[in-house]
């Protein structure tokens, strides 16, 4: 089948989650995914790159268990969102508008039955980690979009997940803010050691952040191409002008164009 990965999947690390022949058709007849094969290796930063509406979000929702596949199998889905399970960052920060920053970060622990006084230290540590200590008492509407996203990331990380799923989290932010959050996200990933699956439609963001880019086709989505990003683990703004980085961007961009070929713009 033509959708088979172009490169063998990383064989060194065990797969945390794997999708085999996964398809998803919705009740309204839309086929979002067809024959998706994808393995997420422990410790990697996987970018899911694809045109809008190609089912990238659906892949994340299936991994998270928010939707069930209509075909194929997912192993590792049992990673429920609990201690050491998975964290999910949505396109918008989706904070509780009536709760302050600390209470928003506390939410996953609160839902797990953790008492507030037992969580205070960890909440403070999370706020420091994402760089918003000092705003614990602020309400979401008092924060900028970038800071709200930082709160959402702190909330996703507060349960110390092994797997962090991120659905175009920086798409709505201005470029400078996005660059800063990109760098902070890389730092967070190294500090927490979690595995990240990051959905984006930006080629540059995908290559900058990830250790592997999976390019998806237009709907019905499947994995068209996988590109290993052999760039140093320590990345900073200088990388954005690095020829190796730009060559990978060109490769991913060509794959994305191939994904769009034959579909209306």
């Amino acid at each position: 089948m033509t959708g088979a990965p172009a490169r063998p999947l990383s064989a060194t690390a065990p797969a945390l989650v794997s999708l085999a022949g996964v398809g998803k058709a919705f009740d309204n007849g839309v086929v979002a995914l067809q024959g998706v094969d994808l393995a997420v290796a422990e410790g990697e930063f996987l970018a899911l790159l694809g045109p809008s509406g190609c089912g990238k979000t659906t892949v994340l929702r299936l991994i998270a268990g928010l939707d069930e596949p209509s075909a194929g199998a997912i192993a590792g889905q049992a990673l429920a969102a609990r201690e050491g399970g998975l964290g999910y960052v949505f396109q918008d920060a989706t904070l509780l508008p009536w709760a302050n920053v600390a209470d928003n970060v506390f939410l996953p622990l609160r839902l797990a039955g953790v008492a507030r006084r037992d969580a205070d230290e960890r909440i403070a540590a999370m706020l420091r980690l994402v760089g918003i200590d000092g705003f614990a008492g602020a309400l979401p509407h008092q924060l900028s979009g970038g800071m709200r996203m930082r709160v959402a990331i702190a909330r996703a990380l507060v349960t110390r997940p092994r797997l962090l799923l991120m659905d175009e989290p920086f798409a709505a932010l201005d470029e400078i803010t996005r660059f800063r959050l990109n760098d902070d996200l890389l730092r967070l990933k190294h500090e927490t050691g979690c595995t990240v699956v990051f959905v984006t439609h930006s080629v540059y963001e995908a290559v900058y952040l990830s250790t592997r880019v999976a390019v998806m086709s237009a709907r019905p989505g499947r994995i068209l191409r996988e590109i290993a990003v052999d760039l140093p683990a320590r990345r900073d703004d200088a990388l954005r002008r690095d020829p190796a980085y730009l060559a990978l961007c060109a490769e991913a961009s060509a794959a994305l164009h191939a994904a769009l070929a034959g579909s209306p713009a």
């Binding site: 928010l66 969102a81 009536w98």
Partner: protein
């Protein structure tokens, strides 16, 4: 908001009190002058000063009547607010319950209270009729607002609660009810305005005199006896009572939902 705009809004608030006050003063002065200059007798049109003197003189009759009306209004209003929220929660828990009961909520709302009150009087007696009438007019706005509010929770937040395996109770108290709070507050404010109307209509229809009768009965009585100054005094009293209820409910609701601001900006 800029300093100038803030000063402008403070000026607008000041004008918001000053201008209606000026209109009231001018109207009362013109009314007083007209009655004095034309020699209109008080049984046709009492001057404002005469209305105030009557209010003071008839206070021993009017105050207990106002007390009766207010007690029943507040009791009915409080029951309707609590009942509307509880019923709203119940109907949104079960699709079957909603299908079974929501048509009756609509029927009760569209049937004019004046038409139902005579029936209530037969079976419930005067006092209970007033209480039930207030309940009937105040219940529906709270119920409708609660149901709309409970359904207005952000779908992404709803996914987040699902991801973290929230129990139905956690979902209700930590997501749905807080999301519904601004809606419920708006419904309660509407209900507050309607509840005094409900009480007055019921007292008009029930029309029982005696020591335990409400203010609306005093209005009917004064009208039959052509005691026009007392008629005006009673209407003034009920108008002030309505304003007070509205102000108290508005301030209370605004204080309750002060934190509920939409995200963005």
């Amino acid at each position: 908001m800029s300093r100038a705009a803030r000063a402008g809004s403070a000026g607008a608030r000041f004008a918001g009190w000053l201008l209606p006050g000026a209109v009231l003063a001018a109207t009362l002065a013109a009314w007083e002058a007209f009655v004095a200059l034309s020699g209109t007798p008080a049984y046709v049109l009492p001057a404002p000063s005469r209305v105030l003197r009557t209010l003071a003189a008839d206070w021993p009759v009017l105050a207990p009547a106002l007390g009766v009306t207010l007690r029943l209004t507040l009791a009915g209003f409080a029951s309707a607010a609590a009942g509307g929220v509880l019923m709203g929660v119940a109907l949104t828990r079960s699709r079957w319950a909603e299908l079974a009961f929501s048509p009756y909520a609509v029927i009760l709302q569209v049937t004019p209270l004046v038409a139902i009150a005579p029936i209530l009087v037969i079976y419930a007696g005067v006092t209970a009729t007033v209480y039930l009438s207030v309940f009937l007019v105040a219940f529906f706005p709270v119920l409708a607002a609660t149901m709309a509010g409970l359904r207005a929770a952000d779908p992404a937040l709803s996914d987040l609660f699902r991801l973290y395996r929230a129990t139905p109770a956690q979902r209700l108290f930590q997501l749905e009810l807080p999301s519904a709070a601004p809606f419920i507050a708006a419904g309660v404010r509407t209900a507050g305005g309607l509840s005094l109307i409900g009480a007055v209509v019921a007292e008009f229809v029930a029309g029982a005199g005696g020591a335990g009768s409400g203010l609306a009965y005093r209005i009917v009585e004064a009208s039959y006896r052509l005691n026009v100054p007392r008629l005006f005094a009673s209407v003034l009293l009920i108008c002030v009572a309505g304003l007070l209820i509205y102000a108290i409910v508005s301030v209370a609701c605004a204080a309750l939902v002060r934190r509920w601001r939409p995200q963005g900006g």
